[in-house]
């Protein structure tokens, strides 16, 4: 009986540990960037980003293949990949960071506002960012959304003068992720 109790407590403890360190994954997360100018509106969208969330420490990893961004016009897609992002040379954009003042309970309650800070790597260049986000349960699933701005020049992306008026100085990035528990 004592053995059984010890075993029970040990297994409960282990289960508790496991759930505290639950990892979450999404392999078809949504990310878009939007550029609005009086001359032209440009929207690029990908639903193939991959992201991990660690419920133990609030760490978030997010990555996307640049060539999965899709545009209304084929020519925009070509220019985006070849002229600006140089996706053959820099195929991935990555972010690694943590939810600021993270508490594991945040993932068990309805979505609430948080800040996420970390390093964003685009076009082979790192930049530390701190952005607002919403994270928590939505329809029973851990969901995260964020909208923030980036400046192409911060990542060494040069925009020729000829088209400078067609591309906004700051681009709006929108991210939306519905996570699934990850059990490798």
């Amino acid at each position: 009986m004592r053995k059984f109790l010890i075993l029970l407590i040990a297994s409960l403890f282990q289960a508790g540990m496991a759930s505290a360190q639950q990892k979450y994954i999404a392999k078809n997360a949504y990310i878009s960037f939007y550029s609005k100018t009086p001359m032209e509106d440009i929207l690029g969208e990908s639903n193939e980003a991959v992201t991990f969330l660690d419920s133990g420490n609030g760490e978030i990893v997010f990555a996307v293949l640049i060539n999965t961004f899709h545009f209304k016009r084929a020519l925009m897609e070509e220019h985006f990949n070849e002229n600006y992002m140089e996706s053959a040379k820099f195929p991935k954009a990555k972010f690694k960071g943590t939810i600021v003042d993270f508490k594991p309970d945040q993932l068990k309650s309805p979505t609430s506002g948080v800040r996420i800070s970390g390093v964003l790597n685009i076009h082979g260049k790192d930049k530390t960012i701190d952005v607002p986000a919403k994270i928590g349960l939505e329809n029973g699933k851990v969901t995260a959304t964020s909208t923030f701005k980036v400046t192409p020049e911060d990542f060494g992306i040069e925009i020729p003068n000829l088209v400078r008026d067609k591309i906004a100085k700051e681009l709006d990035i929108t991210v939306k992720t519905v996570y699934e528990p990850y059990n490798p």
Binding site: N28, Y30, E48, V64, L65, A74, P91, V178
Partner: protein, 151 residues
């Protein structure tokens, strides 16, 4: 009007029309480029025909070599369908080999709409032959847009 002046006038008109034609051609070319549609996966020529197991192991063993070889190329892959899924925005996904680290084929929306019966007929666990554009490796091999090749 002397003959000479007349000839000069015609030559000038010729130059003018030539120039106008050139400008028109340039505008047409620009518009055609600007509005050119996305390439249809059905019509694209296949660059590589491989088995799912082979292309996966190429990427998993040496991504630095496999990525430049296959990225943005049209590949035909035969493997085993392990899952049929939908993205949050409703695109159909066919997963080959492994649900976590396999090959994720995002179907061309036009193709999927026109071939709903082909999709309904696909059973998990059965062999599958797909054609699509290889986008690279991120936790899994991403193929999009893709279509099912029926015998």
């Amino acid at each position: 009007m002397t003959h000479q002046k007349f000839a000069l006038g015609i030559a000038r008109k010729g130059v003018f029309f030539g120039f106008a034609l050139f400008v028109l051609a340039a505008i047409l070319f620009f518009l055609q480029q600007y509005y050119k549609p996305h390439a249809s996966i059905v019509k694209l020529k296949t660059d590589f025909t491989v088995s799912a197991a082979d292309i996966l192991s190429e990427f998993q063993q040496d991504e630095a070599t496999a990525a430049p070889k296959y990225t943005d190329k049209v590949v035909e892959i035969s493997g085993t369908l392990v899952a049929k899924k939908k993205t949050d925005d409703g695109s159909a996904l066919l997963i080959l080999q492994d649900t976590m680290e396999g090959i994720s084929c995002q179907l061309d929306p036009e193709w999927a709409k026109e071939n709903a019966s082909v999709l309904d007929g696909l059973a998990e666990g059965s062999p599958l032959h797909v054609k699509g554009v290889c986008k690279g490796y991120l936790m899994e091999l991403k193929i999009s847009p893709a279509m099912v090749v029926t015998p």
